[in-house]
Subunit: 223 residues, 2 copies
């Protein structure tokens, strides 16, 4: 996919802001189409119709469905990076983690989560999608692994925690929540998320006063 800078230099007639807005508009339309019909059933023509542009205009920005997926995944990665930066600086890690979890597993639309899991499945067969999707996946898990290492170095989590295993288990917890919301829009993530956060707390700090299940049991009163 050409970089925006290259595009702008090739197309001096439009201002960079206009290009950016057009590109965003196309990505929004592509997301709508992919979310509605899935990757395979969605055609470039349908995306043009949704965006209200000609095929020629679309191909200036994205030459394939894969390029559109790359654009959408990169947008997700950038959003994650922004949220992650706030999490990494938060004084209370678990509280900030609960807030990020609230965004991704409760507030975020079911369509968005379905898009993510659909791209994951597509990545197992389509090498171009694999490169994009697994790249974002690795970026997210590496970010958490580095943060756990930093928390360990700062003495904020137990010194004997095995960081690589912790990061893998952490990914599995996030994957499971993504998957559940994606296939079951009405899944009750509000009751699941606090228990998962407690589990992460127990993993990070074995000396925590409250064992994970005692807190889990406490959620009974809220239901």
């Amino acid at each position: 996919m050409p970089q925006p800078e290259t595009l702008f230099s090739q197309m001096p007639k439009l201002k960079p802001d206009t290009h950016r807005a057009r590109r965003e508009n196309i990505l929004d339309a592509a997301f709508t189409c992919f979310a509605r019909g899935g990757f395979h059933a969605t055609t470039m023509q349908a995306i043009c119709r949704e965006a209200g542009i000609s095929p020629g205009a679309l191909y200036v920005y994205f030459d394939s469905k894969e390029a559109l997926i790359a654009g959408l995944c990169e947008r997700d990665r950038a959003e994650f990076a922004e949220r992650f930066a706030r999490l990494a600086e938060a004084p209370d890690f678990l509280e900030a983690l609960a807030a990020i979890g609230e965004h991704y597993f409760v507030a975020e639309s079911h369509e968005k989560q379905r898009f993510v899991v659909e791209m994951g499945v597509e990545a197992t067969r389509n090498p171009r999608i694999a490169e994009i999707f697994m790249g974002v996946d690795k970026y997210c898990s590496a970010s958490f692994e580095a943060l756990f290492q930093r928390l360990k170095d700062e003495g904020r989590i137990a010194p004997n925690v095995d960081i690589p295993t912790l990061a893998k288990v952490f990914s599995v917890l996030g994957d499971g929540m993504f998957w559940r919301r994606a296939i079951e829009p009405k899944a009750d993530m509000r009751s699941v998320l606090p228990v998962i956060i407690e589990m992460v707390g127990a993993l990070l700090n074995p000396t925590d006063e409250l064992p994970v299940a005692r807190k889990a049991a406490a959620f009974e009163v809220r239901r």
Copy 2:
């Protein structure tokens, strides 16, 4: 899908065992094709070729890709029911759970897990697949919920554990492991699974002597 009994009465020329073997052979061929190319790219013709039968013979048993998926999901459900029956009777629940986890998340082929997650995604758009897939999903989680309730009634888990929330969290843990192996065949589930089992142990029994993270840290020596 016609029941085997109906089929047999319609086709008196072949013995029931022969019918069963043919049906199994077709399901094996269908799984091979779906695993290779995915649900959408797989044609009934490709399945006939793989099974070495004519379209006429295939349609006697399965009239659509959805009917084949129903047959495959039902086979998975029956296998789960068998494993679950042994788990439910095991004296040491966590040990038996680790064994079932070992089967599904370490020994089971990546192709099988990818098939499961692909059907989950397909279920979000295809009502016939949704009925089949979500039916199996609910069967599995209801089995675990009933078992947790039984363990609670028998005083084998903490009396204050909130069973419905526990069952939901438990599903999320299993979902996450399925998903991870499905999209990343080389994912190191051998180091993840014991930590997940410990987490479940902590959820079931807050009075457990070893907090979950101390045990998680102990896995460091095994890596």
